[in-house]
């Protein structure tokens, strides 16, 4: 066991006018994750720290925070991978509720905005699932993008993200629906994505892709959608009655 210093963002809106950073010595080994370190502060040092977690194995996407300046999942970040002291603070671009907990509402609101629910004209509970080849173009595009755990790391690292821009994760979700041949609302969705705060807000800085713990090709996905949107725009101009 070695000791690692964790410097943690503390903020209690009831009592603090400003956030502070407090440091704690945490015993760590090769298997300690940043989340474990925070649990140590909570359970052993008894700091009554607020943080969010659920699955502790990279599935729920609840424990995202800024770790040494980068948005990551705390449960999937081994302390041994980081050098020296560790600084943790809540994600950027989202309002802080307390300590390390942010309000994810603005992030999830953008999902609601792209109308994420699936609709098919042909399929329903009575029909057999569609035949879709695993090597088809749609599956190739959709598959890697469905592993999104909704952690918001991409949103935290995006310099444009605000309540107007749809944001990287929601746009990628839209792409999975646009590419889905079973889905019936492609045109409608593309309309929405062409708005000023849709795909065109993205300046292709690529921070989102870098921070995604699930290695989703996010930036590339946004570019793909821009292309779809252009095609859609041209089509609209040529065939306005469609």
């Amino acid at each position: 066991m070695t000791k690692t210093t964790f410097t943690v963002h503390r903020y209690n809106p009831e009592t603090d006018s400003e956030p502070t950073f407090e440091s704690y010595d945490v015993p760590t080994s090769e298997s300690t994750s940043v989340l474990d370190g925070l649990f140590h502060i909570q359970e052993t040092i008894k700091e009554n720290l607020s943080m969010r977690f659920s699955c502790r194995q990279g599935v729920c996407g609840s424990c995202s925070m800024e770790i040494n300046g980068q948005a990551r999942l705390a449960c999937q970040t081994p302390v041994s991978e980081l050098e020296g002291e560790i600084t943790v603070r809540p994600m950027y671009n989202l309002p802080v509720i307390k300590d390390l907990v942010v309000d994810m509402e603005p992030f999830f609101d953008s999902f609601a905005e792209i109308e994420p629910s699936f609709e098919s004209d042909e399929l329903d509970e009575e029909t057999d699932p569609a035949v879709v080849k695993p090597d088809s173009d749609e599956r190739q595009v959709i598959d890697p993008r469905t592993d999104c755990v909704g952690c918001g790391a991409c949103y935290s690292s995006c310099s444009i993200a605000d309540e107007n821009y749809l944001g990287p994760a929601a746009i990628n979700k839209a792409l999975t629906l646009v590419k889905d041949s079973r889905e019936s609302r492609t045109e409608e969705r593309l309309e929405r994505l062409m708005d000023a705060d849709g795909v065109w807000s993205c300046h292709v800085q690529g921070e989102c892709t870098q921070s995604c713990p699930k290695d989703l090709p996010i930036s590339e996905g946004i570019q793909l959608l821009k292309r779809e949107a252009v095609k859609h725009g041209v089509k609209q101009r040529l065939f306005p009655s469609d």
Binding site: S31, S50, C60, A130, T146
Partner: protein
């Protein structure tokens, strides 16, 4: 209608209720964490059992389930699951847009799981749960359903033996609220986390089972707790207990004790490491308890002879997981232990998820009966989604016009006083120590292998934990206070733990997940029965009732051959 919990069961209940009754039913979901981003349905890796192929049949799936459950399943409930599973799969794909994996010809791929007579497990890679939960969450985002996130249900409100609502706590603000409802669905996912080593999401703490018990509702087969044989041991990291999937043993990995012995040769000389979950779990547990375990109380899972490249390519997720904690499955043996995984026991319900208490419905892992003494891999998510559907549909048609009676403010007061008590104390017992004591007690005394003596000691110890809860003090304010939440968790967990221990003491035989060293055989003459537990004046009343064989009867031959044929493939879930 109030739904408590937003895993598979809770969200399906909300969706189906909304579909049946779109205009005149207000649906509110309270969830302790984030909606669709918490609980175990999200964590499902392996997949979903459903009859889709023309060569398969509902009867075959049913028989597998009842034989797997060692004949104490509620046969009607089990049939409800099997009959509805294909409908729910079509719903997931065709209405929600879930993309399950495909065969080369483009049809939905179905893979083999242990205990199945046909390859019927539908999946999306090994992240099936994320796909299902994300899509249903997306769907509900566009419907008229109210989500109250980070809001925990504290206790049910009753009037004249009917449920009229629930006291909930907004964890962010620390404020209590009363939600009155025509019907309440409990879908909190039980509490396999009561053991030192366990697989589920951390917030699950038998809240639903404890709430039901406190209102006098009966629960059944609480002794039936399923252990998965290979939970990763990684020291004091919270990852400990996470599953190393069984496919790796199917692929030929070996288990060793610290004396370098492939100990399965003593317990299952023919099947060795490919024996069923309960047998391998028991063998490892015995080795550990007999002192042939590692320093961290584990055994060694060795896949190195299969070749580094093979392991890395075939089990990338698992290899990564071990690397994350400084071990490397592809290059060295890793430490594993049985890990508490799934609770077959729970609240007694009928096929529409109704309980004895009007207005109260229970769905998913909080409910008991469908799986008997042992759940097959792939039947858990069937349980949560199908029962969610049943509850939602039933509520929409049954309680639409029911006017809940007024709630009793004194009952509300009593609940709030009880759970806020530790905030008013200082210098009391430490809740994290009590939690640890409870988990240790369950592991040592009510674990994979049980005896009368150990169970009696265990019950005493659990009682002591429960008494000491009255001394706990919690620091800080009510807002987003994790320590205070831990207190409420341990209160419920310890209550459910006592039900598990007492039911285990009561069942004097071995069956499925329940193994008594002092009664090592299955006794069909006496115990083709369900064990019930209910609140009584002086504590817990326990009794049993014979199983009703409404569809299939265990003739003698089947009884003996009840263990499903061993297969050589993944047995995840």
């Amino acid at each position: 209608m109030l739904v408590v919990g937003a895993g598979g069961a809770g969200l399906f209940a909300a969706m189906y209720a909304d579909e049946e009754s779109p205009d005149d039913l207000d649906i509110t979901i309270v969830v302790k964490k984030l909606a669709g981003k918490s609980g175990c349905t999200r964590m499902v890796q392996g997949g979903y059992n459903a009859v889709l192929h023309p060569d398969d049949s509902l009867e075959a799936h049913y028989r597998d389930t009842v034989e797997g459950g060692k004949w104490i399943n509620d046969q009607e409930l089990a049939w409800t699951l099997i009959e509805n599973a294909p409908t729910v799969i079509r719903k997931l794909e065709n209405d929600l847009g879930v993309f399950f994996d495909r065969d080369e010809d483009g049809y939905v791929h179905q893979k083999p799981f242990a205990g199945q007579s046909f390859d019927r497990t539908v999946h999306k890679g090994d992240l099936t749960g994320i796909e299902i939960m994300t899509k249903i969450r997306d769907e509900l985002l566009t419907r008229d359903v109210t989500f109250l996130e980070e809001t925990r249900a504290v206790d049910l409100l009753t009037h004249d033996d009917e449920v009229v609502g629930c006291v909930v706590l907004d964890m962010r603000s620390g404020e209590f609220e009363v939600i009155t409802a025509n019907a309440v669905v409990l879908a909190t996912g039980a509490g396999a986390t009561m053991y030192r080593i366990s697989t589920p999401a951390l917030e699950k703490s038998a809240d639903g089972q404890a709430m039901a018990f406190r209102r006098g509702v009966r629960l059944q087969d609480m002794e039936m707790m399923q252990f998965h044989p290979t939970g990763l041991l990684a020291g004091d990291t919270k990852l400990t207990g996470g599953v190393i999937e069984e496919g790796i043993r199917g692929a030929g990995a070996h288990l060793y004790n610290t004396e370098d012995e492939r100990f399965m040769s003593r317990y299952a000389p023919e099947e060795m490491e490919r024996a069923t979950r309960d047998i391998v779990s028991r063998a490892s547990y015995q080795e550990i308890m007999d002192g042939r375990g590692t320093d961290r109380d584990g055994v060694l899972l060795d896949a190195t002879h299969l070749g580094t490249d093979f392991v890395e390519e075939t089990f990338p997720g698992m290899t990564d997981r071990t690397r994350n904690v400084g071990q490397d499955l592809s290059e060295q043996p890793v430490e594993v232990s049985p890990t508490s995984h799934y609770h077959m026991g729970g609240v007694t319900i009928d096929g529409n998820c109704r309980t004895e208490l009007p207005g109260l419905y229970v769905a998913g892992e909080d409910a008991g009966g469908a799986h008997g003494a042992n759940r097959l891999g792939g039947n858990g998510v069937v349980d949560s989604t199908v029962l969610g559907k049943q509850a939602g549909q039933a509520i929409a048609s049954e309680v639409r016009d029911r006017e809940p009676a007024p709630y009793d403010p004194e009952q509300v007061e009593a609940i709030i006083t009880r759970v806020t008590a530790p905030l008013d104390r200082s210098d009391g017992a430490d809740i994290y120590e009590l939690r640890e004591l409870l988990e240790e007690t369950m592991w040592e005394h009510v674990g994979v292998v049980r005896t009368e003596e150990k169970l009696i000691e265990g019950i005493d110890e659990i009682r002591r934990v429960r008494e000491r809860l009255d001394e706990v003090s919690v620091s800080g304010s009510c807002q987003y206070n994790l320590e205070w939440n831990e207190y409420m968790d341990v209160e419920n967990l310890s209550l459910a733990a006592e039900m598990v221990a007492r039911s285990a003491l009561y069942r004097t035989e071995s069956r499925g997940a329940h193994y008594r060293e002092d009664y090592p055989t299955r006794n069909d003459d006496r115990w083709l029965a369900n064990v019930y537990v209910q609140r009584a004046e002086d504590g817990m009343h326990i009794w049993d009732e014979a199983v009703e064989f409404s569809r299939l009867t265990p003739d003698e031959e089947e009884g003996v051959a009840a263990a499903p044929p061993e297969r050589e493939h993944a047995d995840e879930g």
